[in-house]
Symmetry: C2
Subunit: 271 residues, 2 copies
């Protein structure tokens, strides 16, 4: 088993619950299902969003969400990330009012609502991204997929969950899972920001589909390679070309498809 | 093939696009992938959200989204649903300011941001729900799953998409697909509201996981039975008990699990 910095902990207290029911014959069954709870994220004095999450690593989730939404610039100094488990609230504090709060105040004056801002801000955040040169070997992809598929996880034990893994070469480093579609990747972004991890030598592996949002998050995180066992959307592919991301999908056994950023891919396995 | 009111149209112009890439051997490939585009939903003079959608039935999506978010009460008179394909905008108009807009104005004054309101409003919307008596036969579930799995769809032809089907007895009626997780069910809600379809005799079938959000949407739509081939989250199960919804998951072949609302289930197939 590989040695991860953060690995799934399918037996952790509080992540699953037993529920009872019946099967097709009417026989009673008991099954373990993943938890799902609201977490409200604040940025300084402003309530931003309520995410539905499995509940682990709330500080990483809050930090990564704000960073990936373009609400927390890379040079912003975070002075505190306070989690209140009773209120299900995380407050991320910066030493000055953030750029996002200024924009939001302006937007609120004009249209009265903040929700629409977010999308425009994200696209703006991505337009300046230029991803570094890097290499991704086919042998690493095969090894990563194999290790990740074998590793004990909430997905294997309870299902109904998404996984995202930060990798370096053929080593999985940080493996996050969550019920919320993009929470798993946001938790990785929060971990990277907290630890000052480099992005240019990493590969992001996800169990989910390669949509525009996944591509945007990966690009904002500065990671040059995004890989998945699932398929693509057209805009995901288009954005990957736009930001120069290597996008690899439909990984099954020794098969995969590369639809953008081919130059980083080294086919080092004879097939 | 069953006779649906709305069936998937995998060959429709504008829903898929051809992208090119390479496979694991370096050989060129061309694949059809689903489109994904932003649709901004307005309620009267207020921008509410930008959803990522495949792009079909934008009016149903907007109407259903607002209804399922508790922003458009059942007795609200909708005077227009205007779609502008060039701006990717739908404006839903009501004859008076809605209850939601009043709440939002109040909320904006207190916290300055609307996003957090939504969650509280949804939970409030669900607390008053009481679902009608109804019957769901195991034979219907088997027949529905079989018909839906065989039917030509974007899922079968391009992948990376979710499907939701409104059913009555063993008949699938309206089958929507979308890249956005909850758009497919919102499009069904919009269709139901537009056509005045009854809810108490319907079954909602989804390909996706049975999370709190799916349960809430189904309950707000007034549909007493929610079924899926996927699994459950703990809060989804808890909410189903709370609103009296019949929740059936992990449907595979002749197997399924019922974890709430058992009383409506009739096991009419000898196993």
């Amino acid at each position: 088993m590989p040695d991860l910095i953060i690995a799934p902990d399918p037996d952790a207290a509080g992540l699953t619950r037993q529920v009872v029911g019946t099967d097709q014959t009417g026989a009673p069954i008991a099954l373990h299902v993943v938890e799902e709870r609201p977490l409200t994220i604040w940025l300084n004095g402003r309530e931003i969003v309520t995410a539905m999450t499995i509940g682990d690593y709330p500080q990483y989730l809050a930090l990564g969400f704000l960073a990936n939404q373009g609400m927390l610039a890379a040079d912003e100094t975070v002075t505190g990330v306070d989690y209140d488990p009773e209120l299900d609230v995380v407050v991320v504090r910066t030493d000055t009012q953030t750029n996002y709060e200024e924009k939001l105040a302006k937007k609120t004056r004009t249209s009265g609502c903040a929700v629409g801002t977010v999308f425009g801000d994200i696209m703006e955040g991505v337009s300046g991204v230029s991803l570094p040169d890097a290499q991704v070997r086919a042998s690493w992809l095969y090894s990563l997929a194999h290790q990740i598929n074998q590793m004990p996880s909430l997905y294997l034990s309870a299902g109904a969950i998404h996984g995202t893994v930060l990798c370096q070469g053929d080593q999985p480093l940080v493996y996050m899972e969550d019920v919320g579609r993009h929470n798993a990747v946001d938790k990785i972004a929060g971990w990277m920001r907290s630890t000052g991890a480099t992005a240019e030598d990493k590969i992001l592996y996800t169990t989910g589909r390669l949509t525009s949002e996944m591509v945007i998050k990966c690009a904002i995180m500065g990671i040059p390679v995004l890989a998945s066992r699932s398929g693509f959307t057209a805009w995901g592919v288009e954005l990957a070309h736009q930001v120069g991301l290597t996008l690899i999908g439909r990984m099954r056994g020794q098969r995969f498809q590369c639809v953008a950023g081919e130059a980083r891919l080294v086919r080092d396995v004879a097939l």
